[in-house]
Amino acid sequence: MNITKKLINNKTALICLIIITTIVILGILAPYIAPYDPNKVRIVRKYAAMSSQHWLGCDHLGRDILSRLLYGIRSTLFLSLLTMIITIVVGSLIGLISGYQRGKLDECIMRLCDIMLSFPSQVMILAIVGVLGVGIENVIIANIVVKWAWYSRMIRSSVIKYSRKNYILFSRAIGAPHSFIICRHLLPNVMSELVILATLDTGWVILNISALSFIGLGVQAPTAEWGLMLSEAKNVMTQHPKQMVFPGIAILIVVAAFNMLGDCLRDILDPKDQKHE
C-alpha cells in the first residue's frame, strides 16, 4: 500500500518504528535474554558498579538493573499498549454508534463525554485510583475511564464527516445493512485517524503509568517497572545519581519514539497532502 511505502521513505518514522519493534521484541524475549532474575535480591551487591557481570550495575537491593529494565518493558510498555487498545476499542465503538445513529442517543453520549472531558484528566485518574485502591489494574481502569470520551468525540466527528459522503448515502439508498456500511465504508476511513491518535497518545499513557508507579499508586514492588525503578532511584539521588539514568533514558526513548512516530504518521496520512499529489 501507499502508506507503507511512505512510512519507509520517511526516515524518522522508520527509525522510530525500528526502535519500538526492537523494544517490543526485547520485552517478549525478556525471560530468555535477561541475564538475571529481575527480583533476585543480593544485598551484598548493592549499588554495584557497571561490570562485565552486571552491564548496568545493581540497585539498592543488589538486583541487576539490566534485567529489571528488560522485564520493565513488559510492565511499562505492554501494559500501556493494553490500556491503549482497550481505550480505543471502547472509545471508537461508542463514537461509531453515536456518530452513525445520531438523534437522542448521540445527544446523551455527547453530554456524557462533555462531563468526562470537563475534568482535568490527571485529577480524575488520581480520584479513581484513590477510590478503587492502588494497583496496576485500577490504574488501567482509571486511564480508560478518563480517555474513552476523548476518542469517542474524535471518532464521532469523523464518522459524521464520512456519513455525508455520497458513496455512503448511495449505499444506504440501496439498502445495504448497517454493519456492512460501518465495516466496509466507515471503519477504513476512520482507522487512519485512529492510528495517529493512538500512536501520539501511547507516549502519554506510558508516562502516566510510570508516573503513577513513581508515586506508588501503580505497579507494586517487587515487579520491575520503569517508573517504580525511578522512584527507588530517587531515594538515593544524591549518593548514586547513576541509578536514575537507565530507567530515565528508557522512558525517554520509548515516549519520544511513539510521539515522533505519531507526528510522522499524521504527516503521511494527512488527507490534505494526498489531494495535492
Partner: protein, 521 residues
C-alpha cells in the same frame, strides 16, 4: 569631579569592621528539619511531637542515662508508706512563661487533669493506681498510690503525660478537650507556627534554670528523606536529627564530608516486625517460627545499615532491665524453616509458585510506613527471603497516620514496629500490650497464653519483690519469644547530621527527645 578619598577609606574600614564583627558574634539560632508538623503540643495527650513537648514542658524529676533521677522542678522527694506515698518539695523560683506561678496548686491542677482522662492513659498503669494528689502547702506535693508501683518515678519523668502546662492554658481546669495555648515552664516558648511548614521556638526569657545558648530554634517540615539531605547540603538547615530521618548510605556519605559532622547514639530501641497471630496463615506457631528462621538479621545489618545497627536476637536487648534471661535466638536457617513449614502443612506443590495448604497458596502482606528511611528496603529484602522458601509476601506502604490506625485496628498480617526504648523499656512497652491502643494487643490475641501474659505484666508492675518481678517479666518475654510473635531485626540508633560548627549535640536517654538546650555554635 573627584573622589573623596578619606570618606571612601572610612567606608572601607567600616565595612571591614562590620564583616569582622559579624564573624565574631556566634550564631545563636538553628534551623532543623522534621518529617512532619509539631501538631498538638498538649502535654497531657499523645498527638504532638515529643521533642517539641520536651522543649516547652518540664517534669518534677529528671531521668538520667544511668537509671537514676536528679531534681528538676522538684528539689527533693521522699518515698514513704511502703512505697505508696511520694512527697515532692518543689522549687520556689519557677514561673510559667505567661507569668503564672508554678507551685503545688498548679501541679495538682495538672495531674488532676491527667487523672480525669483515665481512658486515654490506660497504658500508664500509674494513672490507675494514683488515689490522690494533694497540695500539702504551696511548695509540697503529695501523691498517694493504692499499691507500690516501681516505675512511678520513670513515668513522671518521661515527656508525657505528667508534665506541666500553665493553668491559664487549661479549658475549665481540664486539658482533655484541648488547651488554649502551649505555655510551660521550659527553656523555650513556642513562637510563630505555620501548620505543615515551620515552627519557631524562642528562648524563654524568664526561664528559671540555665538559659539555653541557642536563642531561636526553627523547625522546617521536610517530609522527604532526600529533600532533607539536600536542604542540609545547601545550608538551608543546620541539623537533621532522629532515628528514621536518614538512611545509612546517606549517613555514611555525609560522614566523609568536611562541612558536616555525623553522630550516632548508643542502641536505643529494637526495630521489630510484628506478626498477627489471629490471622489464618500466621496462627500456627510453626509458620511464625519458620519466618523467624528465614530472615537473616546479619544481612540486614550489613547490607542495609552498613553495620551501623547491630543485628537483634531478641525483642528486648539484653542490656534492658529484666531482659537478660538467656533466650535462644532464632538463627538464619532456611532448611529448618522449610521443615517447619512442611510440618505446618504448607507444602510445595508441583506447578505452583508458592506453598499450598488446603489448595490455597501462602500469601501475606507486610505493611510499612512510607515516610521512614529504611522500612521499605527491609520489606523488599524480606520479600525475597520469603520467595526462596516458597512463601508470598506482599508489601504495602502507607502514610504514617494510616499505618498507625491499621496497627491499632489489628488490620495487618505483619507490620513494622519499634520497642519504645529507654526509659520506657520494658515496663511501659509491655504495659502497652495489654490494651487495644497499639498493634501488639491485637497481634497477640491468637495466643492462648494472652490472658496470662497480661496478668503477669500487671502483676510485675506492682510487685515489690525484685525476684518475683524478674520471674514475671521472664515469663512474658520468654512466651513472646517462643511463640515467635515478634521478629527482632536490629537495634536502632538515633542519628544526627549537622554542620560542623554546631557543638554540644547529644542524645537524651529517651530516643524521642532532642536536647537543644545543650547545643551551641
Amino acid at each position: 569631579m573627584s573622589f573623596n578619598f578619606p570618606h571612601l577609606k572610612k567606608l572601607f574600614i567600616f565595612l571591614m569592621l562590620s564583616c569582622f564583627s559579624f564573624n565574631c558574634l556566634a550564631k545563636d539560632d538553628i534551623t532543623f528539619a522534621n518529617f512532619r508538623d509539631i501538631r498538638d503540643l498538649n502535654p497531657h495527650l499523645y498527638s504532638g511531637e515529643m521533642w517539641a513537648q520536651n522543649m516547652l514542658y518540664e517534669s518534677l524529676v529528671h531521668y538520667n542515662e544511668d537509671g537514676t533521677f536528679s531534681p528538676w522542678l522538684a528539689e527533693s522527694w521522699t518515698i514513704t508508706n511502703e512505697g505508696k506515698t511520694y512527697t515532692f518539695k518543689l522549687r520556689k523560683d519557677v514561673t510559667f512563661s505567661d507569668g503564672a506561678k508554678f507551685d503545688a496548686h498548679s501541679a495538682k491542677l495538672n495531674w488532676d487533669a491527667v487523672l480525669s482522662n483515665k481512658v486515654r492513659h490506660t497504658w500508664l498503669e500509674m494513672v490507675r493506681l494514683i488515689t490522690e494528689v494533694k497540695a500539702v502547702d504551696d511548695y509540697t506535693l503529695e501523691v498517694n498510690l493504692s499499691e507500690p508501683y516501681y516505675p512511678f518515678m520513670i513515668e513522671i519523668a518521661v515527656t508525657r503525660p505528667m508534665r506541666f502546662i500553665s493553668p491559664n492554658s487549661m479549658i475549665d481546669g481540664e486539658t482533655k478537650n484541648g488547651v488554649k495555648s502551649y505555655i510551660g515552664t521550659g527553656p523555650y516558648v513556642l513562637g510563630d507556627h505555620k501548620k505543615d511548614q515551620y515552627a519557631v521556638f524562642n528562648a524563654n526569657p524568664t526561664y528559671w534554670g540555665t538559659k539555653p545558648l541557642l536563642k531561636k530554634v526553627t523547625m522546617k517540615v521536610i517530609a522527604d528523606n532526600q529533600s532533607r539531605l539536600m536542604a542540609l547540603e545547601k545550608g538551608e538547615i543546620d541539623l537533621i536529627y532522629g532515628k528514621n530521618m536518614v538512611d545509612a548510605d546517606s549517613f555514611e556519605r555525609f560522614s566523609s564530608m568536611d562541612k558536616f559532622q555525623t553522630l550516632m547514639s548508643k542502641p536505643v530501641s529494637s526495630r521489630i516486625v510484628l506478626m498477627n497471630t489471629t490471622r489464618n496463615q500466621l496462627s500456627d506457631v510453626n509458620v511464625r517460627q519458620a519466618i523467624e528462621h528465614i530472615i537473616s538479621k546479619k544481612d540486614i545489618s550489613e547490607g542495609i545499615f552498613n553495620n551501623s545497627e547491630a543485628p537483634a536476637d531478641t525483642l528486648m536487648a539484653t542490656n534492658i532491665p529484666y531482659a537478660n534471661i538467656g533466650l535462644k535466638p532464632y538463627v538464619y536457617d532456611t532448611k529448618l524453616a522449610e521443615t517447619l513449614l512442611d510440618k505446618a502443612g504448607w507444602l510445595k506443590v508441583k506447578g505452583e509458585d508458592y506453598r499450598q495448604k488446603d489448595g490455597k497458596p501462602f500469601e501475606i502482606t507486610l505493611y510499612y510506613d512510607s515516610n521512614t528511611a529504611s522500612q521499605k528496603t527491609i520489606a523488599q529484602y524480606m520479600q525475597d527471603e520469603f520467595e526462596q522458601v516458597g512463601l508470598k509476601l506482599n508489601i504495602h506502604g502507607e502514610e504514617e497516620q494510616g499505618y498507625r490506625d491499621r496497627q491499632k485496628a489489628g488490620d495487618f498480617d505483619m507490620v513494622f514496629d519499634i520497642s519504645w526504648g529507654t526509659p520506657y523499656d520494658p515496663q511501659s512497652f509491655l504495659s502497652g500490650m495489654k490494651l487495644p491502643v497499639y498493634g501488639d494487643y491485637m497481634a497477640q490475641q491468637g495466643l492462648k497464653e494472652k490472658p496470662q501474659i497480661d496478668a503477669s505484666i500487671s502483676k510485675a508492675l506492682i510487685s515489690t519483690d525484685e525476684k518475683e518481678r524478674q520471674d514475671l517479666f521472664r515469663y512474658v518475654l520468654e512466651t513472646l519469644h517462643n511463640q515467635a510473635v515478634y521478629i527482632p531485626l536490629t537495634y536502632e540508633r538515633n542519628r544526627a547530621i549537622a554542620v560542623k560548627s554546631l557543638k554540644g549535640i547529644e542524645f537524651a536517654p529517651s530516643q524521642f527527645d532532642i536536647p537543644f538546650e545543650k547545643m551551641h555554635f
